[in-house]
Point group: C2
Chain length 692, copies 2
């Protein structure tokens, strides 16, 4: 099976079914592009009406081809896709790219035909890309396959690029000569009837030609499936995701474009981050980051030196450091001493190092060499604005030649002539960035990758334990919100320290023992979920008399809202310091998810929650707590003592185990977890929705 | 005087002092650039050694020139600047551009020489740009002055561009052919010894050639002076600011580069916004926005339709809408009906409208015309990715020809050839954006400008009242934190409802009357500022016995921290619902500033404060309250009653008046303003620092 994906990129022979002689038609352009990029294998065009096409012998039908075919590319009209595939299967073809559109993206009917085709291919042991896609590219010298209809000649690089949108892929291909983006492989997966992002993860991990993985996605076929190989450590290469549909409007547009259910962007963002997958904001950041991984060593730390002939742009660059968790390096005195011998007195030997407009190639080279030797510097950003007296090409080339184990990122703001000259004549051809704001996110993404890898290696055993948890089958709850009794059961099983409560009918209130006071009393009616809106709760009830009065008032409140109090819940009253929230839900694509944050009735306004996959380690829980404001407050502000954080972590851990072992739990929340003035954690109540 | 600024851009004659025959020298390049751009006035080069330069008759000294000189440009070595200026003053020149560097930016000595020169010019009734700058440009057809050393030929537009950084100006000029940025005027102000951003505000407001003002700034010479003409309505043109030094590292770099004290970025950001000045994040957004104002009508609302042949890029565009406070328009049924007759069945007539890759110029034009007629649409973003079968030039030109009172922003993602062709052959030459993310911030900035203008016109009387406030001289406080007595005095004068407290020495505790209970007791020692860290406060003290016990404990706490309790403060105890903060300080550049937000001891962690200039209207105060989480909570969440917001606003208003009338107040804070369960606002204490 693996070989069938490999043959998409490394076929020895391809047939183009639906190749055409009519210029500007997809059937023509596909064949033309393949030919134009000098594909190293054999091409078999298939067209019922032609003897030859673009100089290739053409076949009237598939069965006319007697030689073996590694890859079939279909550019036939949509009603012919099905029968073409039948013939190809008969011929024993195992790898398919279906360019033709008009399937799932057009509605129910198209979706069904698409499904049938994909299953047919699968049954025959084959794999299929598309439909509704724009093809694949492999720039490898021994292959040279550009099976798209953009007849550009991509320079070979080591980045794999998957695009769910054909148009976005085309836009990137259109821009290659300007952006200097380089690919190893490109694949447009279209409707993802069979092959999707998860397949490519595994394939590229094993492909030696590819070093960095980039994905433009509008939806995840199986989010948890995408995450798992990162959790297990199977995927080790830097992986960069541009996920469209961030905002609710965008998500709606993406979902109507792809027909896939969308996960909230907060889930996507947090979970990718949790497992060391780089999420970028736009196309430029994606390919800049890929260029970073492909051409520069990963810096050892976040201390950046900026070298420039241009004060203003340097400040703009420095502004981006902090925003990307980077720091302006403190140069050593030795470095400054050495710099003072080269840098003019009117310039600056403080970081950012300002060489003034007159600085030439030699000055830039020397200053950067000195700076790179400073122990306090992890990476260098060099910013050059072309003045009249210095040629930018000389500066860039001379900096390119510096030998250092530290990365040196160059930004050039030259007259436009520079770019062509650099593309044509540069010896090493390292990437040169166009804006002073470009390098910081790249460096930050590289560091994030390295740090995540190192961390996840250490916590692998913790992850493994969670991955090996089995689904529990012992619970036989009925669907809906669990009863108080069942909540107690599951809480006890998972050692969630729920307060021992009494539930009594209104006539049994006098059975509450004296030693339980002070208590909290809550009115219960199964139809009422948000208790505080109904004034159904009374706190710090000190004795039986107060209890009786409170019960009467709550009953009155229920009545005026059209309900009866069915039962009263009596709990010990906690002298409250803080309220936090622990919750969880099952994302349709990414599976079980855990939330932590500020609790109480202001949850929505406070908007202070962190989110992680339920497959979480101690580190992840700490990170969750630390990334909220309430987490910082719990740890003690201005001399306050910390609350019981270990206990809180234990509850979070129990909850994630509960979510993983019980796929029937759709969602739950503990709001609030009460933090008492005694710094202890109390769980008063759990809301949990069970699905059959 | 005004004329002397005008002559910087509209001189009939200029002399270039220090013009040179040596290529690549500044003295040569300046003269060459002026000549190359075909300046329409008369040029007088001055050089002690040349008879002629670049074909111009050259003068050995300034006094050799007998004709009148409107503008002198100095490119002499720094030691010659002073005496050149003397000679020019003698000759009666009133407008100066000093290109030469090596003044304030190099230290104390340079700063003093710079000051002298500037004062000399001022005394002679002249105005001076620089030093350490790169000149000016005026693209006006009757002037055609490019007095910089970047020999590009900027296309004429209606944007005024001021750059504090010469290098950034150069970088922008270098990029003109690629970015298609157009100027009316460009000015590099360098060290701003005389002419600065505030001068240009007034000058450009009156200059008919300029429609949009753009500023790259690293510091404000006089922030309040920059804001005031917006408050008074003197500046009406769209004004866009790119302020570098956003982060603390960036601010440090900017301040060491410019030698100016920097305001916190939160102040800069909030105050520019308060008065309708557009703050942008980078160079691209600045000039994209200027292009927006210059070429498109301002939309009437925020409902955007996206028309595209490319699903993926359209989703990326939609994602940027929400982030910029824009909405995806709901198309009317009538529109959808009409669209369904043009758009292919496999496309989408829902917004974003997807025409599929085959859509040609006619289809784009027709669909956009229909969409522009929809009452629910305020602006259109058209996104075109070049496919093989349609020429981008035709699409862009055809959309450019649409007549509509609504703006239509085009994004094109073509093969690189398009850009040259468009630059050379387009008839209307409207801007075309390169990224699907580009238009949303532009539209958002245009709307922000229009809405701010409309709002500020309405509240002008409120602003005027504040601007007319006189400085109070009656207070004769000694510098430092005010005593409790003086706090009472100023609070009473400004009707800030401070709680009536008792201050008693430890031996007079029994003088507290019974009817004051329950009370709060605080220990006071003038050296102790943050009371809560010392456990110096006891709440809800119910009777004289409890009071005595509390006093003993507080005294103990003070002692263990090495202090004595000097006095006790006794206040009524408020049954607390919330704590908010009202504060203020005097920014070195922007003057009096007011803060509002979440109060109490978690202020820093909660980080929930809004900031405005003390020159604030009712609208501004509401905006401040609404932009904080605590503000939303005060207004009532989940059926809670609102606290007394009007009362709170009154306190904020009183505080701003106090800040404006008393320039001696360096800072003050009321933390907390107590919001009781009775929804009333209580001020327990004010911390106020007085400066002489």
């Amino acid at each position: 099976m693996k070989n069938n994906i490999k043959n998409l990129f490394y076929p020895k022979s391809i047939c183009v079914v639906g190749a055409s002689a009519r210029e500007k038609s997809i059937g023509y352009e596909m064949l033309h592009t393949i030919s134009h990029f000098h594909y190293k294998g054999i091409i078999y065009p298939v067209n019922p009406k032609s003897e030859s096409l673009l100089g290739y012998r053409s076949y009237k039908s598939i069965d006319e081809i007697k030689d073996p075919i590694d890859l079939a590319i279909l550019v036939v009209p949509k009603h012919s896709v099905d029968c073409s595939i039948d013939l190809l299967i008969e011929k024993g073809v195992k790898s398919y790219i279906v360019i033709t559109a008009g399937f799932k993206e057009t509605g129910k009917e198209g979706e069904e035909i698409e499904k049938e085709i994909a299953e047919k291919v699968k049954r025959a042991g084959g794999r299929l890309v598309g439909p509704n896609c724009m093809g694949v590219i492999n720039t490898h010298n021994e292959i040279k396959l550009n099976a798209t209809f953009v007849a550009e000649e991509p320079h070979s690089g080591q980045t794999g690029f998957l695009s769910q949108s054909g148009a976005l892929g085309a836009a990137v291909l259109n821009s290659l000569r300007e952006t200097d983006i380089k690919f190893g492989h490109f694949i447009s997966v279209g409707n993802k009837a069979d092959i999707n992002e998860n397949d490519l993860l595994y394939f590229w991990e094993e492909d030696d030609y590819i070093k960095t993985l980039t994905f433009y996605l509008e939806s995840f076929v199986d989010g948890l499936g995408f995450l798992k190989p990162f959790i297990t450590g199977e995927i080790t290469k830097p992986t960069i995701v541009l996920k469209a549909g961030k905002t609710s409007s965008g998500a709606k547009a993406a979902s109507s474009h792809t027909g896939a259910l969308s996960s909230s962007d907060k889930v996507v963002n947090s979970l990718l981050r949790q497992f060391g997958i780089i999420r970028v904001n736009d196309i430029n950041e994606m390919f800049n980051t890929a260029k970073g991984f492909e051409n520069f060593p990963i810096p050892k730390g976040n201390r950046i030196a900026v070298v420039t002939n241009a004060g203003g742009p340097a400040i703009l660059a420095v502004d981006t450091l902090e925003e990307n968790n980077l720091a302006l390096a403190q140069l050593s005195n030795e470095t400054k001493q050495k710099l003072s011998e080269i840098v003019l007195a009117d310039g600056s030997i403080e970081n950012p190092i300002d060489l003034l407009p007159g600085a030439d190639a030699a000055a830039f080279r020397k200053v950067i060499e000195i700076t790179a030797q400073d122990q306090n510097v992890d990476a260098i950003i060099s910013i050059f604005v072309e003045p009249v007296m210095v040629r930018p090409f000389d500066v860039v080339e001379s900096v390119n030649e510096i030998k250092s184990e530290k990365p040196i990122f160059q930004v050039d703001m030259p007259l436009p002539e520079f770019w062509d000259k650099y593309r044509e004549s540069s010896k090493k051809h390292l990437p040169v960035f166009r804006n002073p704001e470009d390098p910081a996110p790249v460096i930050s993404n590289m560091l994030f990758y390295a740090e995540s890898r190192a961390r996840m290696k250490k916590t692998f055993e913790e992850y493994k334990e969670l991955l090996e948890l089995k689904t529990k089958t012992e619970y036989d709850f009925s669907p809906g919100f669990l009863s108080q009794q069942n909540i107690y059961k599951i809480a006890d099983d998972y050692k969630i320290p729920i307060l021992k409560n009494r539930i009594v009918t209104p006539d049994k209130l006098n059975s509450i023992e004296q030693n339980l006071f002070p208590v909290v009393i809550k009115g219960i009616n199964k139809k009422v979920v948000h208790k505080s809106e109904m004034n159904a709760v009374k706190l710090n009830v000190k004795n039986p008399e107060e209890l009786k009065a409170a019960a009467i008032e709550i009953s009155k409140n229920f009545k005026s809202a059209g309900f009866e109090v069915e039962e009263f819940l009596i709990q010990p009253f906690i002298d409250l310091k803080h309220e936090v929230l622990i919750g969880g839900f099952r994302d349709p694509s990414f599976g079980p998810v855990i939330m932590f944050g500020a609790g109480g009735k202001y949850v929505e306004v406070l908007n202070d929650t962190a989110i992680k996959s339920a497959y979480l380690t101690n580190y992840d829980i700490d990170d969750m707590i630390d990334s909220t404001r309430i987490g910082k407050i719990l740890k003690g502000v201005r001399g306050e003592s910390s609350s019981d954080i270990d206990g809180l972590k234990q509850i979070i851990k129990s909850c994630s185990k509960m979510m993983i072992e019980n796929p029937n739990i759709k969602e739950f929340d503990i709001n609030p977890v009460l933090i008492g003035k005694d710094n202890k954690n109390y769980v008063a109540d759990i809301r949990l929705k069970w699905e059959s």
